[in-house]
């Protein structure tokens, strides 16, 4: 006979260890659950801390672009753009128009490919075993093909340079981009049909991980998560950089701040990106230089500091560059959006069910190399 007083009820710690099947990289969460409800979450990061910031202090302003790529490996052009904007601001270089337009086109196409990856990985988190992933990677392959034609590499482009671009795009660039846009639109429609009105998907996503706007601002959250929580804020429109003021686009804003809103915000952002690319293709000057004429050979910045930020698919990717003169940065701090978004994970997950914790982590769309730099 078992006496009730000899039994003890404890909350159980569950370790989602550094290797787990969802493809978010090496991230470890220790969840303390009471039955099925999560009581506490302790995220452990740092398994991918590779010292990008320290190594960039030893690289000059052209070598650093490769490190910026590898830090944010799904939105590489946003990272390169942020880095180049910071250095160009310090050196007071003006980028020619054609280079700016091509930069915007490539950055928005990179936003498409990053959001496709999100759709794929998020579908896996919600239970579709690999269908959404296969669809997403089919679309990504078309985008990676054109990135390869332009820059030479499938994943780590290193195509933007301080002052413009590395080399001229191929002759059929405009027609290729239009082909790829048609395919991407079809891909968005496919994923939309697969996921958005899917009952199981809706039941798993709605009212999960609600996050209010005040808490989101307090935690430094940015990007689609901030917009899904109701804050109408996009760096491309509100603190514009590059030539974004010349384009008309809308910003999707969510109502409830739950996981379903984040998915819808990203889906709509993809459509708006396609619209930006189409406007840029119309306005693209057919000929022109891609670096300014008076480009110095050695990239030396005057002493000073600057904080440059771009709207990457994950949020606000910032570069705080402190220079003491010379051709290497003195301190190069990368403000990564995934780091700040992940710090809000604890508050979002406490009180939810265990299965929802995976959905919330998936909806944050983190890139671990960015979190750990």
């Amino acid at each position: 006979m078992v006496l009730d007083s000899s039994l003890e009820v404890i909350d159980m710690p569950i370790n989602m260890g550094p290797q787990h099947p969802s493809t978010h990289g090496v991230f470890r969460m220790v969840l303390v659950v009471d039955g099925e409800k999560v009581v506490d979450v302790t995220p452990h990061i740092g398994y991918m801390h590779r010292g990008g910031e320290k190594l960039m202090e030893a690289m000059d302003f052209r070598q650093g672009i490769g490190y910026a790529d590898r830090t944010e490996y799904l939105a590489q052009f946003s990272a390169e753009l942020g880095y180049c904007l910071a250095v160009e601001r310090l050196m007071e270089i003006e980028v020619p128009d054609r280079a700016e337009y091509i930069r915007v086109i490539l950055t928005e196409m990179n936003r498409l490919s990053s959001h496709f990856m999100f759709m794929g990985a998020f579908g896996i988190d919600s239970g579709i075993f690999a269908t959404s992933f296969v669809y997403a990677f089919r679309e990504r392959e078309y985008l990676q093909d054109i990135f390869e034609e332009v820059s030479g590499d499938r994943l780590m482009y290193a195509y933007f340079r301080v002052g413009g671009l590395a080399w001229e795009v191929p002759d059929n660039f405009v027609s290729r981009v239009q082909e790829v846009l048609v395919k991407s639109q079809q891909g968005i429609r496919d994923l939309d049909d697969l996921l958005t009105k899917n009952e199981i998907f809706m039941a798993r996503c709605q009212n999960v991980g609600n996050f209010s706007a005040e808490r989101a601002i307090a935690y430094g959250v940015s990007g689609p998560i901030l917009r899904a929580s109701g804050v109408n804020w996009d760096l491309r429109r509100d603190e514009p950089y590059s030539i974004y003021p010349r384009f008309k686009f809308q910003i999707p804003v969510g109502n409830y701040g739950d996981v379903y809103d984040r998915y819808l915000v990203r889906l709509e952002e993809m459509r708006q990106s396609i619209s930006i690319i189409e406007q840029a293709l119309q306005q693209l000057p057919p000929e022109g230089p891609i670096v300014p004429e008076k480009m110095p050979r050695r990239l030396r910045t005057p002493p000073g500091e600057v904080y440059a930020k771009v709207e990457s698919p994950r949020g606000e990717w910032g570069v705080y560059l402190v220079s003491k003169g010379g051709d290497k940065p003195y301190r190069m701090k990368m403000r990564s959006p995934s780091f700040c978004n992940l710090s809000a994970l604890r508050e979002m997950t406490i009180g939810q069910y265990l299965a929802d914790a995976v959905m919330i982590l998936g909806s944050l769309d983190i890139v671990l190399c960015d979190v750990d730099r």
Binding site: G46, E305, R331
Partner: protein, 233 residues
């Protein structure tokens, strides 16, 4: 070879260094070791005054009516130095405060209605070698659309800065990371455990300038299994 145009720089860049050497704490104050290709002084245009001191950017005081005056009103009695720093479009105001006033300043910028800087964008540490360690806070206000940069400096002997994670929850992780990288102790932080480094390897701080990069091991043959690496393809 003409010297770089428009960049009249006499700064001692790493002119002769290859990127492989670790970032040695070489003082930049010495006279430039090599001059660019000789050109008589008469041919060059007149140089601006800031060339005489290439080490620091010139500090321009902010315009009257800018955010630093609002800050002075909101946090009276705090001594601060305000100047302009560039941002991608235009410029913004940076303010240097002392370490002990930091919490008062942060509470003021968060709660005061005219400042309303509720968004902590970025918290970074910088290692100025002789001049100490610095912590830089970038703040933003969504309602008022203005930015502010707050800086505070501490010495190596006493690297303690009051923690602002009670005011800005986003500072929680940023402060843990800065402590890992620089060794700055944040006083009052609820959970200052290592974030990015392994728990038992926080003896030395990676982003300090006196911490060198590790050497590349030239020969990897000891790690290869038997027979590997011997055939020449």
């Amino acid at each position: 070879m003409t010297p770089p145009d428009g960049q009249d720089q006499e700064t001692t860049g790493a002119a002769g260094e290859t990127p492989v050497t670790p970032p040695s704490p070489a003082p930049e104050g010495a006279a430039p070791a090599e001059q660019p290709a000789a050109k008589p002084a008469a041919e060059r245009p007149a140089r601006p005054v800031k060339e005489a001191e290439p080490k620091e950017a010139p500090r321009v005081a902010p315009q009257p009516g800018s955010i630093s005056e609002l800050l002075a009103k909101a946090a009276p009695g705090v001594e601060m130095k305000a100047y302009m720093v560039p941002s991608v479009v235009g410029e913004s105001v940076a303010v240097e405060v002392g370490r002990d006033d930091l919490r008062a300043v942060m509470t003021a910028v968060h709660d005061d209605a005219s400042l309303d800087l509720k968004y902590l964008r970025c918290l970074s540490g910088i290692d100025w070698q002789e001049e100490g360690l610095e912590v830089v806070y970038h703040l933003w206000s969504f309602s008022k659309r203005h930015a502010l940069t707050v800086k505070t400096r501490v010495t190596y002997a006493d690297p303690t800065v009051p923690s602002i994670s009670a005011i800005y929850p986003s500072a929680d992780w940023h402060e843990r990371e800065t402590r890992d990288m620089f060794g700055i102790n944040f006083d009052g932080h609820p959970n200052l455990v290592p974030l990015l480094l392994p728990d038992d390897m926080t003896d030395h701080f990676p982003l300090r300038k006196d911490n060198p990069l590790q050497e590349i091991e030239e020969w990897q043959g000891d790690n290869l299994r038997d027979g590997a690496g011997e055939g020449e393809e």
